[in-house]
């Protein structure tokens, strides 16, 4: 009943059209799934329900793949043998991979509901967090609120000025110019002269120097906007659009207790199907079926084999390109064409939640021009006192390569150094840290497939096509790369096509 209702609710919306309808007699067909990340487990859940015999081979000793949280007591060894013993307090965690779910990622949200994974708000935009440039305002972080209000205010003022100087006469009718001016005054918090300046209007956006109060000491003092030229040249405006993207507009969600809760719940649901510690070394198909050779990385011994009628392979292309596989030349070329990006996350535990206690920052994100790129604050546990874990770095591009090249310990040290330029409390309050550099993650060799428009035009359809008895799934086989929704939608699309083929006989 729930699923029937879901189907109706989702009809006609986005890429997710509700749970797949895999009706029909599958005649005992079997499917071998490689990888127990979200794509693999979504496939397994739906195919089992449709009557298929399903088995999953997983390289790691846990379900979830990149859906993953690191907790105190966890040990993580990256490529190169660098081992971290994570020492976060109970309940605190780092999400090394995905960390937020937009409200319109209906597929992953469906499985959260189905698996009863509790969700809570993820704070994307916090106007009291900072935007920071080492090259502007003497390196002093600015409140997001100030930069946002002032930038919008000055843009509105300039546009109002142009309008009133008749510069827009060619584009906007006289009548509409009046409407435009009215809107600019409201949108930009301009005064009666269409100017953005110190006063009540601007302070109602950027906040007061001293807030209005009660009784006899209640008169507020308005705050002074930043200078327009300073603001423009600071380039801090680069960071204030962060919550405007389709995928970052509120509402967003996160699982209570860490993103990895989804993988754990999925893994518990499918526990009889998953064989862990299985390293795939060969994938072969012929007219009758698929045979996969794998090694048990815990017990060793001779290579083993698993066979099935069909195979859904969710192994990242970065790893799959190194495994012999009998697929046609177009799919092989697609697998080989996809490189995997660098990304680094660093979690820093502090002895007290100074960002809340001293600076009134409750969740959300600070942006900096330093290599750590952002500082993200925990989105729960407010006012409870005690320790907290900050996301102290989320690096991409060249910064991510450089941080990946460091030892885990040095990544933490660098993140502290950068973060201390925003929060001076960093050094005295630091407790313990952990980091994940995705190029050093043994089972993905990177954070996500690096599609370009040209690569996609050349290879995407071949990557996603059903090749004989093998079909690929995962974020790399989606048009929402690096998002969990991409993994889920890719799996649903793959199993629908596979099922049609099975029914066709």
């Amino acid at each position: 009943m729930y699923e029937a209702m879901s189907s109706l609710a989702y009809a006609g919306e986005s890429g997710y059209t509700g749970p797949p309808n895999l009706s029909g007699d599958v005649k005992g067909a079997s499917v071998l799934i490689l990888g127990s990340g979200l794509a693999g487990m979504t496939s397994a859940y739906e195919l089992r329900k449709a009557g298929y015999k399903v088995k999953i081979l997983e390289y790691q000793d846990r379900p979830g793949g990149r859906n993953w949280s690191l907790y105190g007591g966890d040990t993580y060894t990256e490529l190169g043998g660098f081992t971290q013993n994570v020492a976060f307090d109970k309940g605190l965690y780092l999400n090394p991979g995905p960390w937020r779910i937009p409200y319109h990622h209906y597929g992953i949200l469906h499985y959260c509901k189905l698996l009863k994974v509790p969700l809570e708000p993820f704070i994307q935009s916090n106007y009291n967090a900072y935007v920071h440039s080492t090259k502007a305002f003497g390196g002093k972080p600015q409140r997001f609120r100030h930069v946002q209000a002032d930038y919008q205010g000055y843009v509105a003022e300039l546009l109002a000025k142009s309008t009133r100087q008749n510069a827009l006469d060619q584009s906007v009718t006289k009548e509409d110019q009046e409407i435009l001016l009215e809107s600019l005054r409201g949108w930009g918090a301009l005064d009666k002269n269409y100017e953005y300046r110190l006063g009540e209007a601007s302070s109602e956006r950027r906040g007061y120097e001293s807030d209005p109060g009660g009784g006899l000491t209640s008169a507020p003092t308005p705050s002074q906007p930043l200078g327009m030229q300073d603001l423009l040249r600071s380039r801090l405006w680069r960071s204030i659009g962060a919550g405007n993207g389709y995928e970052t507009q509120q509402s967003l969600f996160q699982p209570v207790g860490g993103m990895g809760m989804i993988g754990k719940a999925f893994g518990a649901e499918l526990k009889d199907l998953i064989q862990y510690n299985s390293k795939v070394t060969d994938i072969r198909q012929d007219a009758k079926g698929v045979t996969v050779t794998y090694h048990d990385t815990k017990t060793g011994g001779a290579p083993r084999q698993a066979s099935a009628d069909w195979c859904i392979c969710t192994i990242p292309a970065s790893v799959l390109s190194q495994i012999p596989i009998t697929v046609g030349a177009p799919m092989k070329a697609a697998i080989d064409a996809l490189s995997y990006g660098a990304s680094v996350k660093v979690g820093l535990q502090f002895k007290r939640r100074f960002w809340e206690e001293d600076e009134n920052i409750y969740g959300g994100i600070t942006y900096t021009d330093q290599p750590n790129s952002i500082i993200a604050y925990p989105n729960s546990g407010y006012f409870g006192g005690g320790k907290g874990v900050i996301l102290g770095a989320y690096a991409f591009g060249s910064s991510a390569y450089e941080l990946s090249s460091l030892s885990p310990k040095d990544r933490v040290a660098k993140s502290l150094e950068y973060g201390a330029n925003v929060h001076p409390q960093y050094m005295s309050e630091f407790d313990t840290g952990a980091s994940v550099a995705w190029h050093r993650v043994p089972w993905t060799l990177g954070c996500a497939g690096s599609w370009t428009e040209a690569l996609r035009a050349e290879h995407y359809d071949d990557l996603c096509a059903l090749d004989g008895r093998i079909v690929l799934a995962g974020e790399h086989a989606s048009r929402i790369p690096a998002w969990q929704e991409g993994a889920v939608l890719s799996a649903l699309d793959a199993i629908r096509r596979l099922h049609q083929r099975v029914l066709a006989g």
Partner: protein
């Protein structure tokens, strides 16, 4: 609807960037390191490891130490410029001199003793010979 690198940039928090910056989200950028040693230690060793011996997990990073595939200097130059399988390309972020420096560094360290250095001009010629990707 086309949603290329844009979506990836959004996914990863690069919403602050705009236009071409999105395309730089994953691999492309620029590097301040100039010498071969600095480039190796700042970029390459993230995957190929500080001792250049590579690493093995579900997949592997090849060792560059004592690697006979480095015999012909053109080969590592092409791999750095174009990327190979999981390895991203560095052609759009390294200058000709940076490519030459890092290739020469790897070919004369880690048990490699190749003496025929590659020049930035040779890199430039090789770069020009590549089809745009």
């Amino acid at each position: 609807m086309k949603r290329p690198a844009l979506a990836a940039g959004l996914a990863l928090g690069l919403i602050a960037l705009s236009g071409p910056a999105f395309a730089q989200a994953f691999g492309v950028g620029s590097y301040s390191e100039q010498t071969g040693e600095a480039l190796y230690q700042g970029v390459c060793q993230g995957c190929h490891m500080p001792n250049a011996k590579g690493a093995v997990g579900a997949g592997a990073y090849p060792a560059l130490a004592e690697n006979r595939k480095l015999t012909a200097k053109v080969y590592p130059v092409l791999v750095v410029l174009r990327g190979q399988k999981a390895m991203p390309e560095f052609g759009s972020s390294f200058t000709d001199a940076q490519v030459a420096n890092v290739v020469n560094y790897v070919r004369s360290n880690f048990g490699n003793h190749y003496t025929d250095a590659v020049t930035p001009d040779e890199v430039k010629t090789l770069r020009a010979s590549l089809l745009p990707r």
